[in-house]
């Protein structure tokens, strides 16, 4: 009697002893569309805010990006600007031109920024965050032969949240380099967006750290790329807010959800009545001239 078994699935089928499926009359959750904001306010960068409208997951509707939103920027609760939409050529998955809302106002150290948005037909939303202090690297050592960079940071708050990445700054182009570190407390993000929680993964394009200890802490990274490294290499150290960190980490880990048994996670948001994030960061750029 020739039997053909397919590994564990056959065993599991044997286990469940006639497991069966049936279709349930189960009301799927219906979430009304809401305004979505994506505003990463980084001192030294220009202000760009994405605004869109979410779609209920269990409908045929699709989410949209808005070019008709009214978006206001407040600094320490005082209105300082109304953001204007600016057309951007799409990258990534969205295959068309879309709009980012921009402002030429500079961001100030330690200031509290609030973004309020309204789109006709939807409840107004708002989100606030405070700019953290500027990270000041000490004992900076750059080894362009071994492609290593090391430095220390003094935590300005406890906990302090950091983001590290490195890119090749070419004309109209940012090519992220691979980073690696043996620091066991880091979270590493791959180019796919997924954030691994393990420490021994060799490479990623972005590292996150929640540092709960006060005082000085040393860092050491190696950088590499599978393409020509000609051009200026920029190593970024961002001190980010708690909301910034939590949003990015939740976004990265959500990619890895396995449906069966696992606990699915929602994206961290500080946008009242809506989705998305309004988060601040303060950066230091180390330019590695070749």
């Amino acid at each position: 009697m020739a039997l053909s078994f397919n590994r564990v699935s056959i065993f599991c089928a044997f286990l469940v002893l006639g497991a069966c499926t049936k279709t349930l009359d189960f009301p799927l959750p219906e979430e009304k569309p809401k305004i979505v904001l994506d505003a990463k306010l980084i001192v030294g960068d220009s202000i760009k805010v994405l605004a869109g409208i979410s779609a209920p997951f269990w409908s045929n509707a699709t989410p949209v990006l808005s070019d008709s939103a009214r978006i206001y920027l407040f600094e320490n609760q005082l209105l300082i600007d109304t953001l204007q939409p600016k057309a951007v050529e799409s990258g990534g998955l969205f295959d068309s031109t879309y709009f980012l809302y921009t402002s030429g106002k500079p961001l100030n150290d330690r200031a509290l920024y609030t973004i309020k948005a309204s789109v006709e037909g939807f409840p107004d939303v708002e989100g606030s965050d405070r700019v953290p202090g500027k990270p000041e690297p000490l004992h900076l050592v750059i080894d362009t032969v071994e492609k290593q960079i090391s430095f220390s940071l003094i935590n300005q708050s406890v906990p302090a949240y950091y983001l590290f990445d490195c890119y090749l700054d070419r004309e109209n182009e940012r090519l992220f380099l691979n980073l690696s570190t043996s620091d066991p407390e880091m979270l590493v993000q791959e180019s796919s967006g997924y954030i691994y929680t393990g420490a021994s993964l060799p490479e990623g394009i972005r590292y996150y750290l929640k540092n709960e200890n006060s005082g000085q802490r040393a860092f050491n990274f190696r950088y590499s790329a599978q393409f020509d490294l000609s051009g200026e290499i920029v190593f970024r150290i961002l001190q980010v807010s708690s909301d910034y960190y939590r949003h990015e980490v939740s976004k990265g880990t959500q990619e890895a959800d396995v449906p069966l048994f696992s606990d699915q996670g929602n994206l961290h948001s500080n946008v009242k009545n809506g989705y998305g994030i309004v988060a601040c960061a303060h950066k230091t750029e180390i330019r590695v001239n070749r």
Binding site: F5, L24, V36, S200, K251, F261, Q264
Partner: protein
């Protein structure tokens, strides 16, 4: 010891103050008085005094303050070292403390036929209306202040009472109870020792014989599944043996087999437990009001004792079922001196499958071996050696698409050893020294590398070495004290990956931790109405890098409203330094036991519980209601997307500093004896969790939060030859999440936008309710060699399709929810025998 009593004195002072008579104010001015004048003043205040004239200690008294309380005056008049003051309504009896008449009765209660010590048997002195119960080793100790010959009764459910006149010089006093010819497979609760008598609340126990009478999944008797029907206890996932107790996590249950922690109590991916009913003597579950002698877990203590072995005769029992066969043998090695118990269980699907087709590419089995040696060294000393080993093994040896052998193996198992030395140190002090060993290992491998080893392997393990010394001390009539200390050395290897061909290895650091605790508790019968159990548990845990130490106070009180009705309250503060990383809660072998570290603190909990307990029908029925509130902190959980296969350090794969809260009400109606035995339980409960990075930091329903739980479990004995078992369970559906929205966010890598899915809140949806009816019938017949039993059963008798997993399927732009159900109606048949 003086310090111990000082602590207890402070703790119980609250109760002393509650007695109005002690604080009764006597109207008398400051000044110098004779004893007679003071006594007259007391009497003038409406207080009757009963005393002997010779008892008056001070003939002249100087009062500094006006209107002193009664107790102060009495302590001036009479020597408190020699007399005690008994307050009865408006009367005070000055009774001499006759130290020379204090005596102690102690000994063992055992089963006459087998010599097996009886746990929880009652020893009672009717003339003094006092009694006690035997401990886990069948030992009792009673201190009384009467020197005369006393009538002492020993009793245990299912046994004939033994009455004996015990003379003043007779000690120790051992009892041998004979099984009643009318012995029924009933709930093992002594008819005279009722739950209304104890300070302990939130406790339940039953005998393995009762579990054998209840319907069993595939005919395989599983005591953990009977435990799941008790109030406050829930099942994790359908069909599995995991325990969720009062909103706790599966790892928060201390499973003790002969006093040794068992880490993974599951066989067959959680569908059966490791506890073989043939080898088990007693089962007891505590869900709250934990006495100080217990620690290390937050939610429950499930204590399971193995049989000791018959000291007089050889006996055996076993069964042949659809899943496994079991055999237990016991008997004397040296009659009345040394006995053994040996039990084994094994599944045989693999043997049958291989007999049908030797080339069958998969193989699974589990087995258990329980063994115990019991040696009576002399009247005062006794040794026990217990051993358990259980193993699961799954192997799949299928050819890949290219015809190359591509094996896959998973093995896991527990091993425990306990060596216990009981010694009656003196007539009031009993000691038990225990050395323990416990190990759980999980190993998986796949592929074959060039050297024949698995191409990929992963293993994790936890190993404990422990030593503890427990004492029971009954020096005083109203106090029964326990104290002791425990040291455990934990070795945890959370996970080691190895890739043979690439010669790569990645592992979390092994953690070796020192775990020490000391405890002291006192059961104090203050008076006929009030009993208090107060204790302190102090634990120290050192995993390297940081020392954790916690003082954990415990308090339980009982107020007897009437003879059959008592109210109880308890408070327990607990710490748990060992954690289980799991996504499932069903007891899968992949669950990872990890130690607290310098970065991951022990879990903590506090629990308050109140209850009312009542017996009626001559003690045959018990009804109780309890409410509880439990606070949890320092909880950990896998981050979203992390699992045991997350390489690298597990500490980076978890959320820490989680909070939890669980509260609920439990109702329990139990029939203790008679032809019909069993219970109905109902639990209304809520359990929530909070982590900084989950559900946007807000509290959310715990995965196993179920609002309603109902269990009806009964056995009915129609005759000596026929019994019927019924089990019906109902539970609110399991909590789960579905995505609710999609939207675009900026992609930081490309500068473009990407689509994301989001969830409104964690675990806001519910599976359909779970309910199921199981039936069993047992046909018994006495034979020349003993007794045989045919048991037939129906699991899920009305074929309810209960949800195991829900999935949203999209086809033709239409979404539909599909439910996967595991177990339809399943008949079973088992042949059991005893000789």
């Amino acid at each position: 010891m003086r310090h111990l009593f000082a602590v207890f004195g402070i703790l119980t002072c609250v109760f002393c103050q509650a007695q109005v008579n002690r604080q009764y104010v006597i109207r008398i001015s400051p000044g110098r008085y004779s004893a007679t004048e003071v006594i007259d003043s007391i009497r003038a205040g409406g207080v009757q005094l009963s005393y002997a004239n010779s008892a008056v200690y001070q003939q002249e008294i100087v009062l500094d303050n006006a209107n002193p309380v009664l107790h102060k005056l009495l302590s001036m008049l009479f020597d408190e070292q020699a007399y005690r003051f008994i307050y009865r309504k408006n009367k005070v009896i000055i009774s001499p403390i006759l130290k020379e008449q204090t005596r102690n009765l102690n000994g063992y209660v055992e089963e006459k036929e087998s010599g097996e010590r009886l746990v929880g048997a009652h020893v009672y002195i009717p003339s003094l209306n006092i009694g006690t119960t035997t401990n886990a080793f069948g030992y009792f100790s009673l201190t009384v202040d009467v020197k005369d010959t006393l009538l002492v009764i020993a009793s245990s459910l299912g046994y004939k009472n033994e009455k004996r006149w015990v003379y003043s010089t007779e000690n120790p006093v051992d009892f041998s109870l004979q099984a009643s010819p009318l012995q029924l497979p009933t709930v093992e609760i002594n008819a005279r020792v009722l739950t209304t008598d104890f300070t302990q609340m939130s406790e339940a126990s039953f005998s393995p014989e009762f579990a054998k009478g209840t319907p069993a999944f595939l005919g395989e008797v599983d005591i953990l599944k009977t435990v799941q029907t008790l109030p406050g206890v829930q099942v994790g996932t359908e069909g599995t043996a995991g325990l969720i107790v009062r909103g706790g996590s599966p790892d928060q249950n201390l499973l003790l087999l002969d006093g040794v922690p068992v880490y993974n109590a599951s066989h067959l991916f959680g569908f059966f437990s490791v506890f073989n009913a043939e080898a088990i003597k007693s089962i007891s579950l505590i869900k709250g009001g934990f006495p100080a002698r217990f620690g290390g877990r937050l939610s429950s203590v499930l204590s399971i004792d193995m049989k000791e072995g018959n000291l007089n005769e050889y006996h055996g029992s076993g069964s042949i079922g659809l899943v496994a066969s079991r055999l237990m043998l016991e008997g004397p090695i040296i009659k009345n001196k040394m006995s053994f118990m040996l039990s084994g269980r094994r599944t045989y699907w693999d043997l049958i499958a291989r007999a049908v087709n030797p080339n069958i590419p998969f193989n699974y089995f589990f087995n258990d071996v329980n063994a115990k040696l019991n040696y009576l060294i002399n009247e005062k000393d006794r040794l026990y050696l217990s051993f358990y080993s259980g193993r699961d093994a799954l192997g799949v040896n299928d050819a890949s698409a290219f015809g190359v052998a591509d094996p896959f193996d998973v093995k896991w198992g527990n091993r425990t050893v306990a060596l216990r030395w009981n010694r009656i140190l003196n007539e009031t002090l009993f000691g038990n020294l225990t050395a323990t060993y416990s190990r759980y290992r999980f190993l998986t491998g796949s592929g074959i590398s060039g050297n024949g080893a698995p191409d990929f392997s992963y293993k994790s393990a936890i190993e404990d070495y422990g030593l503890k010394y427990d004492f029971e001390w009954q020096q005083f009539v109203q106090h029964k004290s326990r104290f002791g200390l425990n040291y455990t050395y934990h070795q945890t290897s959370p996970g080691i990956f190895q890739t043979e061909e690439l010669n790569q290895q990645a592992s979390s650091s092994n953690i070796n931790a020192h775990d020490l605790y000391i405890y002291a508790e006192d059961d104090w019968a203050i008076n006929a109405r009030w009993k208090v159990n107060a204790g302190l548990h102090y634990s120290v845990y050192y995993p390297g890098g940081k020392l954790y130490h916690y003082l954990q106070p415990r308090l339980a009180a009982r107020y007897s409203v009437k003879q059959n009705w008592s109210l109880k309250a308890s408070y327990a503060n607990m710490a748990q330094p060992i954690h289980l990383l799991t996504n499932q809660g069903v007891g899968l072998p992949t669950d990872l036991w990890v130690s607290s570290t310098a970065n991951v603190a022990p879990q903590r909990s506090e629990q308050l519980a109140f209850g009312s307990f009542h017996h009626f029908g001559g003690g045959k029925w018990e009804v109780s209601g309890e409410v509880y509130y439990k606070w949890l902190s320092n909880l950990i959980a896998y981050k979203n997307g992390a699992s045991y296969l997350t390489s690298g350090d597990w500490e980076n794969a978890i959320e820490t500093h989680g909070l939890g809260r669980a509260y609920g009400m439990e109702l329990f109606l139990k029939r203790l004896e008679g032809k019909t035995t069993g219970w109905i339980s109902y639990t209304l409960s809520k359990s929530e969790r909070q982590f900084e990075n989950i559900n946007r930091g807000a509290f959310y329903p715990f995965k196993y939060d179920r609002r309603h739980n109902i269990s009806i479990v009964f056995n009915h004995r129609f005759s000596e030859k026929f019994e019927l078992g019924v089990n019906w369970v109902y539970a609110t559906g399991q909590a789960f999440s579905l995505p609710t929205s999609t939207y675009y966010l900026i992609d930081p890598n490309t500068g473009g936008v990407t689509l994301h899915t989001d969830y409104a809140s964690r675990n806001s949806l519910r599976y359909p309710a779970y309910h199921r009816l199981d039936l069993s019938a047992h046909f018994k017949k006495r034979t020349r060699w003993g007794q045989r039993t045919w048991s037939v059963g129906l699991y899920n008798a009305y074929n309810r399709q209960n949800p195991f997993y829900l999935e949203v399927v999209t086809a033709n732009n239409q979404n539909r929810v599909e439910q996967l159900s595991l177990f339809p109606i399943i008949p079973s048949i088992t042949y059991g025998f005893e000789f």
